[in-house]
Symmetry: C2
Subunit: 226 residues, 2 copies
Amino acid sequence: MVTHPAVVLVSGGLDSATALAIARAEGFACHALSVDYGQRHIAELAAARRIAHSQGAIEHRVMRVDLAGIGGSALTDPTIAVPESPTAGIPVTYVPARNTMMLALALGWAEVLGASEIFLGVNVLDSSGYPDCRPEFVRAFEALAAVATKAGMEGAPTRVRVPLIEWTKARIIRAGIALGVDYAQTVSCYQADEQGRACGRCDSCRLRRAGFDAAGVPDPTRYRAL
Amino acid sequence: MVTHPAVVLVSGGLDSATALAIARAEGFACHALSVDYGQRHIAELAAARRIAHSQGAIEHRVMRVDLAGIGGSALTDPTIAVPESPTAGIPVTYVPARNTMMLALALGWAEVLGASEIFLGVNVLDSSGYPDCRPEFVRAFEALAAVATKAGMEGAPTRVRVPLIEWTKARIIRAGIALGVDYAQTVSCYQADEQGRACGRCDSCRLRRAGFDAAGVPDPTRYRAL
């Protein structure tokens, strides 16, 4: 059996763990990529390592980019608090151009590997309303990739696969469980502590908990005492 | 006078030094951005610092991204030689997705600064034929930026300004000299030594030297003995 390579962006959270399981199930040789961008929830990266291993990625690379230096987000600037109740509009946890930057790194690596697919676990339904999690963002990035690279110029543009984009969190969880994902390994919390224990209050924790409830699955998340 | 902020990508080379001078002449408060991506011609970054200072940028930021880890280019993989005579097609000095990644970083910083313009010194005429130096690449990135960011969603998308894109190298040099650019400060060579001295043989050196010849301007480049 010939396996084709794919780059899979793995954050350490629930969605990207599921995207990795789907890519694996489709038969891709998965090269997992995580980006250390100075996020406050650094326990994510330890989770990404566990998931890449348990989901059979053939390698796991962590690339560093110092977005904390430019700030502008509650996730990269320690002086901006993570909201613990819903807010109107795009929340302060939005990180300017983060998914553009992560896809750019994935695109470069994909070209070096000869991979024609990048898997990205974005989701627009049960999400925080970030601009760079929407279908129009993904389509625009694919259009860019088609003209940005040598592979694209030579007629083999890179696709961006977003299998979860229109799924509910409950559907994502059920699909992942069917594929053997152990969600206890994942960390979604925006302010997880060093052991990866979740706050249970931030937007990401609320969406995750509601997803397990709706899926009728026990929530395996480790919450810390607050 | 109100000055608007702009992010200017400054590599240390001739083209981006000229783009910075043009942005300055248009009245922008210029935030210079250089990317240390593991390039072999690291003397570029020292040149970028000199140019940002002499051309009046209000700050200069160097962001690091480890593209050397993924390789795939003569500029990031020391085992791939820089060609010293013309080659057919896109040369091995092409760095996969480099300009996509640099624009992504500039886009994030622009959004934090409230800057609506990014200046990029790409040029399609006297260039090495890289895919990500072409007008269609720039247009596709602008289309992406319009949907990728909060600013874009709110109706203030970031523009990518490429004043040199259809200029000859000679025209770029004449424009820069008229604006006071000291090209002796710039380093274009793909394999410059630590002092910034050029090889005189690589594609970038050839294009630069031919530009000074065509402009009728003495070439201020420091070449090393080979």
